[in-house]
């Protein structure tokens, strides 16, 4: 070693080291903010991540860098991205994050897509003190998790809340004599379907609705015609499906074919996807589903246009978690800028207490969760508007009964 380590190189190395240390020590001298994420580019989560998460991360980074970067003190520093594929695998996601933190030494981390992976990476982000803005996780244990991991923020709420809001809407419509009280409910035998149906079941019974049909079907069921036929024979006023995207499409298609047209037709994840409108066109009119956004708000309209311009093939965002994901990035940026340096503890504190201007309006978290969510949306004239909770700003009135299916 010593033979080729001359005094001059040693001096250079020392200078370089000092410079690096200096950069690390003085935040103002920072030349970029390193942001890392591990996202599902392969495996079963790919579909969700590709619609809801990846385009928003890319859009945000592009916009921030085009504006010169994130403002630290009195200068702007660009974002530098480090990203990995978690292969839709919990173990891989945890390891990728540990790599981001310890090897790449990123300043901030953006969360993975989906409830399972967000929960899997929770302990790591908590231990290392990184803010965790979970924008695509719906879990009933969110309030408890927020207490356990004060650095975690659960932007999408709880499934119990989702089911409760839906039943409240139904009760109100029944009081207005717009619907009767027979309900048919199907759910997918997976996390989402089970959580929502087990929350909706008691809520419906307590509200004195008659549950004429209540069954689940396994994930990956191809033929949903028997279910739709059986329900059609019962002639319910309300049809609720806590479904995943493939079965949301299949159930809608099958109902259209058999002419099953209840007064309220509600389907689960996927109803709010742009794909749904592409597939059903005019037949989306009056269909309700989980999610929604204030489609009339200028901020949302602007966001939609920017998203279309930025995403590959002009893809549109979904009308539920996409805007929330983008809003969570805006919150992160505003928190960092208010703190003015890379101080993760201070950023977490700011996220807990500050209020933020985002595409989904003003957000102020309480106990690490937003106070307002869109739980029921409805396709009206080609846009998926939020209709419940009715107290939300920009809530539209529901179209009931649902118009008849038209020939495609």
């Amino acid at each position: 070693m010593t033979t080729f380590l001359t005094r001059r190189t040693a001096l250079l190395v020392a200078a370089a080291c000092a410079a690096t240390l200096g950069l690390a020590a003085v935040a103002q001298a920072q030349t970029s903010i390193k942001i890392g994420y591990a996202i599902s580019r392969t495996g079963p989560n790919t579909g969700g991540a590709a619609v809801t998460t990846i385009p928003n991360y890319e859009l945000w980074v592009k916009e921030v860098n085009a504006a010169g970067g994130i403002k630290l003190g009195d200068k702007r520093v660009p974002i530098e991205v480090v990203q990995y594929d978690d292969r839709s695998n919990a173990e891989e996601a945890v390891r990728a994050l540990e790599r981001l933190i310890n090897q790449d030494k990123v300043d901030f981390i953006l969360p993975p897509w989906g409830t399972g992976l967000n929960l899997a990476v929770g302990p790591t982000l908590n231990r290392e003190g990184y803010p965790h803005l979970a924008a695509t996780a719906v879990t009933d244990r969110a309030p408890e998790l927020a207490k356990r991991w004060p650095n975690s923020f659960w932007m999408l709420g709880t499934s119990a809340d989702a089911a409760k809001t839906l039943v409240e809407l139904l009760s109100k419509l029944r009081d207005e004599k717009k619907i009767g009280d027979t309900v048919a409910m199907v759910s997918i035998a997976d996390g989402f379907g089970i959580d929502l149906s087990s929350a909706a079941r008691p809520a419906l019974t307590n509200a004195k609705f008659k549950l004429a049909y209540d069954k689940s079907y396994p994930i990956g069921t191809q033929d949903l015609a028997p279910i739709v036929n059986e329900i059609k024979a019962l002639n319910p006023d309300v049809f609720i499906a806590f479904s995943y995207p493939p079965d949301t499409l299949a159930l809608t298609e099958q109902s259209r074919i058999t002419g099953f047209n209840p007064k309220i037709f509600y389907t689960g994840v996927g109803t709010a996807f742009p794909l749904y409108r592409q597939k059903f066109g005019k037949n989306t009119e009056g269909v309700m589903g989980i999610g929604g956004w204030s489609g009339d708000s200028p901020a949302i309209k602007d966001y939609l246009a920017r998203h279309k311009a930025s995403a590959a093939n002009g893809a549109e965002p979904d009308r539920w978690a996409s805007a929330v994901t983008y809003a969570s990035l805006q919150m992160l940026q505003q928190a960092i800028e208010r703190v003015g340096k890379i101080d993760r503890a201070a950023v977490i504190k700011d996220l807990q207490t500050g209020s933020f201007d985002t595409v989904i309006g003003k957000v102020k978290l309480e106990n690490n969760m937003p106070t307002r969510y869109w739980w029921v949306g409805q396709w009206q004239d080609g846009e998926f508007y939020g209709i419940a909770p009715a107290g939300n700003e920009g809530a539209r009135t529901a179209i009931v009964p649902k118009p008849a299916w038209v020939a495609p």
């Binding site: 580019r41 392969t42 079963p44 990203q83 990995y84 594929d85 292969r87 695998n89 919990a90 173990e91 891989e92 945890v94 390891r95 990728a96 540990e98 790599r99 933190i101 310890n102 090897q103 409830t115 399972g116 929960l119 899997a120 929770g122 302990p123 790591t124 231990r127 290392e128 244990r141 356990r148 035998a189 997976d190 996390g191 089970i194 959580d195 087990s198 689940s216 396994p218 994930i219």
Partner: protein
């Protein structure tokens, strides 16, 4: 015990003691990598213990791994940790004994297909139970176990597996299995109770896999069937054991370590083309190293110039 075995034993002991200090390095990333290395080492070695001598290719690794993980998900918060591990091991052993008794009469490709189906069967049973009985899908594991604890448990399990494998290879059971692997009909005619031998080893190997699942579960916080019963694990373990060479106790390690490191390197450097590169590498392995790394070593040692090596009967 010859001087050579004693020397090797001492060396192995020293290696384990040295490895026990990895968590002291204080780098969570290296610890995570070490956990991953140990996980696959144990799984591949346990796989090789049964499949190496008998030549039954099993894709049931995930089934047992998942049973272990799920046991922790259900009981982890209720019972003390050692008891949870004990129950997981017992469940794995019972399951393996039942499965072994009913299926080890199958051979060749039928056995492969059955073991693959077994994973899906158990997964669907768990889903059915959770959907219709407990009405929750996805359980939370909040147990007080640190990453270093997981590492040490895996290290202890690794040591136990090697010791066990070494003992079995020197026992009547190990000899019986090698005879079965060469020719099952001959083994029967020699008076070997082939069913007992196969089921016994299948059970031992499956118990170890179940324990790995149980030990790893606290790393994820959240467990649902698709996470616990991820069939990728079966395939990865199979490939690692084949790359290393399943006919030797120490063979699978030679596959597990480089492949885990390779997966890590590829996913870090080529996150978007990971699968393509991986596929090419697998093709290369199958064509270039049909008998695995262990086979390559043996060939090198046996080559003229490779000097003296005592060939222990494989």
């Amino acid at each position: 015990m010859t001087a050579r075995t004693a020397g090797l034993g001492a060396l192995a002991l020293a290696a384990f003691v040295l490895l026990a200090f990895v968590p002291r390095l204080g780098n969570a990333y290296y610890l995570a990598l070490a956990i991953s290395l140990l996980q696959y080492t144990v799984l591949a070695t346990a796989w090789g213990m049964f499949s190496g001598p008998t030549r039954y290719v099993s894709l049931a690794t995930t089934a047992f791994f998942g049973v272990g993980a799920y046991t922790v998900a259900v009981l982890g918060e209720i019972l003390p940790w050692p008891l949870v591990l004990l129950i997981a091991a017992a469940l794995g052993a019972i399951l393996a004994a039942i499965v072994g008794l009913s299926t080890l009469r199958l051979s060749g490709v039928y056995f492969v297909i059955f073991t693959f189906g077994l994973t899906e069967l158990i997964r669907q049973l768990v889903v059915w139970f959770e959907v219709n009985k407990s009405r929750v899908l996805g359980r939370y594991v909040f147990v007080d176990i640190t990453q270093a604890d997981i590492y040490w448990q895996l290290l202890a399990l690794t040591a136990a597996v090697f010791l066990l494998g070494w003992l079995i290879a020197r026992s009547r059971l190990g000899f019986a299995l090698r005879v079965i692997g060469e020719d099952e009909t001959v083994a029967k005619h020699c008076g070997i109770n082939t069913t007992f031998a196969k089921v016994a080893l299948f059970t031992i190997s499956a118990t170890v896999m179940t324990l790995v699942g149980a030990i790893m579960a606290p790393r994820w916080t959240y467990i649902e069937p698709s996470i616990a019963f991820n069939s990728m694990i079966s395939f990865q373990v199979l490939i690692m054991a084949l790359l290393g060479g399943a006919h030797r106790l120490w063979g699978p390690v030679l596959g597990a370590v480089p492949l885990t490191l390779l997966f890590e390197l590829l996913s870090a450097r080529f996150p978007n083309t990971f699968t393509i590169i991986l596929g090419c590498i697998f093709l290369l392995i199958v064509y270039m190293l049909p008998r695995g790394v262990a086979g390559l070593f043996e060939k090198l040692a046996a080559a003229p110039g490779g000097k003296t090596t005592q060939r222990v009967a494989a």
